[in-house]
């Protein structure tokens, strides 16, 4: 059974803290993604990685960074958490085109910044 695992389901952090969200996949996928999901806005792409140590900015990268040191692990870092980063964060992985590019998602991390 394919699996994308996010390290926490719920997190509460204080403003200004550095926050790490971890994601691990066991499918040997090249692509990994971080999204945030907010009501009415859908899933907005924060960062995308297509290989180890390779990354691209998504639509809303400001205030975030990422790390991919190993193929199976993709970390999202909030350098200095702010209240407007309170959201649901979703990680996903997939193979690149051509072929089956279906993405598999983790269960999400609901982050509250107080």
């Amino acid at each position: 059974d394919v699996k994308v695992t996010q390290s926490s389901r719920y997190l509460v952090k204080r403003t200004g803290e550095k926050v790490f969200l971890e994601c691990v996949q066991d499918m040997d996928h090249e692509n990994m993604f971080w999204y945030r999901q907010d009501p009415g806005l859908g899933l907005r792409l924060i960062y995308f990685s297509y290989d180890v140590k390779m990354k691209e900015k998504g639509d809303i990268p400001e205030g975030y960074s990422v790390s991919r040191e190993k193929k199976e692990r993709f970390s999202l870092i909030l350098e200095s958490a702010s209240t407007n980063q309170t959201s649901m964060y979703l990680c996903a992985s997939s193979l690149p085109p051509p072929g089956n590019t279906e993405a598999f998602f983790g269960q999400g991390t609901r982050l509250t910044v107080v």
Partner: protein
């Protein structure tokens, strides 16, 4: 810029009625197209996908979608809606023009009247 548009934020249908959810994308070549569903408090589930071939694709739970290149659309349909179909539905696109990123629409919330 590339985009995925779901023009209907909310749709309400009666149980047993037919359903069509719209999705349009701005794109050059043939995209990889997906529909995902998210029930309240749940993760994302893939309903169906289109990579190539027959432009009418069948998915799970009785859903189907049709790719129309001339209209840049990938609308989701179901002939008879069940109360359990109430959820949020997301259209998503992958392709070279997006840098192989998986880009989502803002979602359509489906309500089912009994």
């Amino acid at each position: 810029a590339q985009s995925v548009t779901q023009p209907d934020i909310h749709i309400t249908v009666s149980e047993g009625a037919s359903l069509e959810l719209r999705c349009n994308y701005s794109y050059g070549a043939t995209p990889y197209l997906f529909w995902y569903v998210q029930s309240p408090g749940q993760g994302l589930q893939l309903l169906l996908k289109y990579f190539s071939g027959d432009t009418l694709v069948q998915g799970i739970k009785g859903f189907e979608a049709e790719f129309k290149r001339s209209q840049s659309s990938f609308n989701l349909r179901k002939p008879s809606v069940h109360w359990s179909d109430a959820a949020e539905y997301f259209c998503a696109v992958v392709g070279m023009e997006y840098g192989n990123k998986l880009v989502f629409g803002a979602g359509t919330i489906l309500r089912v009247k009994s």
